[in-house]
């Protein structure tokens, strides 16, 4: 009994990251393993911490606007929208209908770009090489529209507090229509490659299950929550920027596993196209900026505003002391909160599934660490 052979399993602590291709950034996960089985994890984060909230307290409201793009840098437009909405709430500014409509179009296009990057890298992690090339090809078209609109591709700084800085360029509507028409068959193409692919299904089905109740308990939002059967989307529940005007469905699935999260995100891309298609036909004429003074100085008070970012609930809690700088600017990052559930999702599973589960959470470390 006392003799041990190399077949006896012992607990092994393994460091995954911070430099690891499948952690999607500088995330370090310490894994406690028994053979191939994961017993527990500990996430070490903060490698990208830049003190965004502190910077916010030391900049004026308008100056801070570009900083938010650098949190979730694959969905910069969503970040900007959330921040602008929060400050607009504090100022009680009405954003003109035209600006709201363009905001919705760009935000949904950004959601597609974000989901495409997720799909490509997630598939790459699992071992499907082809989708990443397709996804980046399609994402490029979305980024080109951003570039034509505001000159930047990634950290766009597209919105201003009170509306938009730029009018849409000539042919913007046509570009969106063309994109929609061209993009939907591409989603079919990805689904042909993956949805019924036996390896894909085998690697994802039943992996990293998180039930609806567990999601609520961990504060997990976004596609992860919807894949667990909870039909909740802030665009529907607490609509902002005129989302109540557009017809779209909230895709949900029941099992809460990695495969369901994949399906939910694929369907969300289709829904985004649907929203864009309606919005682009209904862009009203009119001004693009609300009545915002040159100096942004909200009254003493506080507000919490959140939006449905591609990753989940992105919230801004802004406290104003009546000066030109936020007294406190808290960002409620969906990636950070969702990542907390990683331990629950991987514990008891296999080490090979850890990569699949990190991929399916769709975290961006710039946002986790801020």
């Amino acid at each position: 009994m006392s003799e041990t052979t190399f077949l006896d399993s012992t607990e092994l602590v393994l460091n995954m990251g911070p430099q690891h291709p499948s952690t999607h950034g500088v995330l370090r996960v310490i894994l406690k393993l028994d053979g191939e089985k994961v017993l527990g994890t500990d996430c070490v984060i903060g490698y990208l911490h830049r003190g965004v909230e502190k910077i916010g307290e030391n900049r004026t409201y308008a100056q801070f606007n570009p900083y938010v793009d650098r949190m979730d840098y694959v969905a910069a437009i969503s970040n900007g929208l959330g921040y602008c909405l929060a400050v607009e709430k504090l100022l009680s500014v009405e954003v003109p209908a035209r600006a709201q409509c363009v905001r919705v179009i760009l935000t949904e296009l950004n959601r597609i770009a974000s989901h495409l990057l997720w799909l490509g890298t997630h598939a790459l992690d699992i071992g499907a090489i082809t989708p990443v090339f397709y996804c980046l090809r399609e994402r490029e078209e979305a980024l080109k529209i951003f570039e034509k609109y505001c000159g930047a591709r990634l950290t766009t700084h597209a919105f201003r507090i009170g509306g938009l800085q730029y009018e849409t360029y000539d042919g913007f509507e046509q570009d969106i229509r063309d994109f929609n028409k061209w993009f939907l068959p591409k989603v079919d193409e990805y689904e042909e490659l993956l949805t019924n692919n036996r390896i894909w299904v085998g690697r994802l089905k039943g992996v990293g299950i998180l039930s609806g109740d567990e999601c609520k308990e961990y504060g997990v939002t976004g596609p992860v929550l919807r894949a667990a059967g909870v039909k909740w989307d802030i665009r529907k529940a607490l609509p902002y920027s005129g989302y109540e005007k557009y017809e779209f469905d909230i895709p949900i699935r029941e099992n809460g596993d990695t495969y369901d999260r994949y399906i939910v995100r694929m369907q969300e891309m289709r829904q985004s196209v649907r929203i864009m298609a309606q919005a682009v036909e209904a862009i009203p004429e009119g001004p693009i900026m609300g009545k915002v003074g040159k100096v942004i100085k909200p009254a003493v008070g506080e507000a919490y505003v959140s939006i449905e970012a591609p990753k989940g609930e992105l919230g801004y809690y802004v406290v104003s002391d009546g000066s030109t700088q936020p007294y406190r600017l808290r960002v409620r990052p969906p990636s950070f909160v969702n990542l907390q559930a990683l331990d629950r999702m991987v514990a008891g599973g296999l080490i090979a599934d850890v990569v699949a589960i990190i991929g399916t959470l769709d975290i961006v470390l710039g946002e986790v660490d801020r």
């Binding site: 984060i45 903060g46 911490h49 003190g51 909230e53 502190k54 910077i55 307290e57 030391n58 709430k89 504090l90 009680s92 609520k216 308990e217 961990y218 504060g219 997990v220 909870v230 909740w232 529940a237 607490l238 009254a299 003493v300 008070g301 506080e302 507000a303 919490y304 959140s306 609930e313 919230g315 809690y317 406290v319 002391d321 009546g322 007294y327 406190r328 808290r330 409620r332 950070f336 909160v337 907390q340 660490d369 801020r370």
Partner: protein
């Protein structure tokens, strides 16, 4: 640090209550000194507004009344500002309130836990819990005022998600949560000195020694 704060706190702002005015010393001084150079401004600011407080209105709803009957004096304020409702409670009763809200009123999703530093106030920190109820489709905030060194009870027993959120509050403000299962720094390195989101920490101020030792930057900045 607590000793430094207290005399400052006792001279100016009221010890407790609702939203304590932030720049407590300013308005009086402003009225006297800043008035001459700005005649236009001097015309209207003086009489009506008690300065620098949130223009919140009472939160009138069944839930607010229900909470008030249950927690009586523990709830010091129920208000609405910009259509967003919040209540201010005494530190000891926050966790029972969160529990009650979760079990009886279906506020089953803790959106965020964060803090705000008001260094001039005797109870220096605002601790803010943002809650959402899926079934009611309603979002509220539970706030409490705590003094430096006070250890509020952890909310992890009620909402698991409080774990990392409270760790971040500890990391940034140095508020220690009693009974937290794993109270370590989360974003900053474990050996880091100082709590960056406190107002007395300048944005340029880093932990020089840590930077020198670990990053090899001689200036520490």
């Amino acid at each position: 640090m607590a000793d430094e704060q207290k005399p400052g706190g006792s001279e100016a702002p009221p010890p407790s209550g609702s939203e304590a005015p932030k720049p407590a010393a300013k308005p009086a001084a402003d009225a006297a000194k800043a008035a001459p150079p700005k005649p236009a401004a001097a015309a209207h600011p003086a009489p009506p507004k008690p300065p620098a407080t949130m223009a919140a209105t009472p939160w009138d709803s069944d839930l607010a009344r229900d909470l008030k009957t249950h927690f009586a004096e523990s709830i010091t304020e129920t208000s609405t500002y910009l259509g967003q409702s919040f209540l201010v409670a005494k530190p000891d009763s926050v966790i029972p309130i969160l529990e009650y809200l979760k079990l009886e009123a279906d506020f089953d999703y803790l959106v965020d836990v964060t803090a705000v530093d008001w260094p001039k106030r005797a109870e220096r920190f605002d601790l803010v819990y943002i809650l959402y109820s899926f079934s009611r489709n309603e979002r509220i905030r539970v706030k409490t005022h705590i003094a430096e060194g006070f250890k509020p009870e952890t909310a992890t027993g009620v909402h698991l998600t409080a774990n990392w959120l409270e760790r971040e509050v500890y990391d940034m403000f140095g508020i220690e949560f009693a009974g937290h299962p794993d109270l370590r720094r989360i974003l900053l390195p474990e050996e880091w000195q100082g709590f960056p989101l406190r107002k007395d920490q300048s944005i340029l101020k880093q932990d020089d020694r840590w930077v020198q030792e670990n990053l090899g930057i001689p200036s520490g900045q």
